[in-house]
Amino acid sequence: MSALLHIAKKEIRIAFRERLIVFLGIIIMVLLGISLFAGFVSYEQQKEIITKTENDKRQEWLNQGDKHPHIAAHYGTFAFKPKTVLSLFDFGLDAYTGTSVYLEAHNQHEFMFRPAQDHSSMIRFGELSSSLVLQVLLPLLIIFLSFSSYTKEKESGTLKLLMSQGVSANAITWGKILAYCIILLIMLMPFFVGLILIANATANNDSLPDVASRTALLITIYAIYLFLVITIAVWISMKSLTGRNALLTLLTFWTFFVILMPKTVANLSESFYPLPSMREFKAGIEESKLNGLDGQTPRSVRMAELETEYLEKYKVDSLSQLPFNFEGVSMQAGEDYGNMVYDHHYEGIRAIFSKQNRLGSIASIFNPFIATQHLSMSLSGTDLHTFNHFENEVEEYRRMLVRRMNNDMAENSKYGEFYEYAAGEELWEEIDGFYYTAPTFFFALRPYYLELLSLLAWVVFTIFLLKRSNKKLKPIHG
């Protein structure tokens, strides 16, 4: 044990004497600082804008004046995707999901305005976030720090000297790993403290629940990820003959895992499960609304059925004899049918999305970078599942709003009349404003069990690898 600590101490001392390493370490720390600051500023800006616009739209809804409820349902309102507090850590998909949606009767509008559209093609190089630094850049620093951990000892012969002292390979390996972990801890400590402070200071009033446990797990996930990178780097150094080989191998791995594989998987998923165009999607919905989901019950038939149903139920001869305005009922029935049709078609799109993303999850088994990326987005509330959840809540809200308008119309207006009836602010006030709360911690993690498993499996795997190689380690060949 004490040999292990000794080796760790020596490694740390040597690392701090490497000017290139210290220089790169400082750059990483500066970048982490910038990313945290920029993420925070951007979060505050967006939050302010969204809160203000939400209030404006709420006032517009309340002050729309007296009008027929159905016109009010068309006037509608808007929903805006709030930035989550942890988005200051990981922007995730925020630049690529739409930010606002118009809510009105009859139509489900799609989310508009992906922020990436307001950027030149440079945005595709990525935006600097803390997660980018931790996921992409820090592994490189680890590679630079540890590629020669064993090869240097081999090339200079100190490995022989070490082992002639009776130090076990186990102690050398884990001493080195411990040293790199401590160096990273020293580097990252200020950042994580900053993150925890900012996240908790701004967490109230945010759409993201369980910020504390989310932050804790985020830190754990990154600790595991970086630990993996360290162990793999040390293992490869142990297996390589020269530092050059180790460095080249590690850089090749990095390029493959971090740059090539995620892109290739995403692109392949697109080829395997192609999406229809928006035009086809909309045409499909129109077609189903017109001729029914089965293609055989056109709208007129559906309406006639509804009429007979109500006439029989209330035992009256004409619609005007019903105790309420049948138009409100038929309007809502049309709405319900439209919703069903929309759900049917949109489920299809969602299914394609989830098949595409499934490939990514499967890829994460082979690539801890992808696993970490997915988990980080999910915990930060910037992943697709959180966005889908938001979409669902918005749609729920829209349906509630339209239903209330139609019910009011059925209750308070007369059959055959339209402009004669106007509702007012009391009705508008009955509709609460839309406030979004993201899914809880466990709900957010549930779709990512493969990713979690992958990280754990990788830890077990690398420890096993190291154990095996430690046993075989000899300072000379033969």
Binding site: S2, A3, H6, I7, K9, K10, R13, I14, R17, E18, S156, G157, T158, K160, L161, L162, M163, S164, Q165, G166, V167, S168, K474, P475, I476, G478
Partner: protein
Amino acid sequence: MLKSVNLTKKYGNFTALNELNLSVKEGDIFCLLGANGAGKSTTINLFLNFISPSAGSATINGLDVSKHDKETKQLLSYIPENLMLYPNLTGMENLDFFCGLGNKNYSKQELENLLLQSGLQADFMNRRVSSYSKGMRQKVGIALARAREAKVLLLDEPTSGLDPKASNEFSELLLEMKGNGVATLMATHDLFRAKETGTHIGIMKQGVLIEHFESDEVSFQDLEKMYLKHMHN
């Protein structure tokens, strides 16, 4: 102290060491002579358990090195041909580090004394090893052997490339340790040095120990003749 019985190492069809039997007692300095590739380093590496024997055994203090790695390592100290230390650490720090690994904690003063006794100049102790000459690095190696209070010293051509003065100093240090009862096994090309410092001399050829005698038994001239004779046929 050091003993090998039918120690054999094969790499495929190539026999690097063939049934070596030798023993080195306390206070002995056993010098192995022979051409490059004769099996000298293989012998030392086998005693260090850096490689595993194909047959036979190597024991230190009666313990088989391949079975009692930890225990035997505690008894020995090793200086390779070109002793490399951590270039970014000072001589002092290197010594402190390696002593610490052997669970021997010395004060700064004691470390300084060890280095001084091993002949390292005081003003170099706190400079980085990257500025050291080979002789200075070997001195740190000797200091380390002393610090570890090693009973066995394994040396792989320690004086090759040293200037005569440094070489001399090295020999004196060996003799001093011999006086303390250390058993030394040294592979070397230096016939003169072997005759001067060694108590026993062995000549190896193609993995076989072909001659083995006490150094008092022969004169330097005879040793040289004998050596060249073996090398030529």
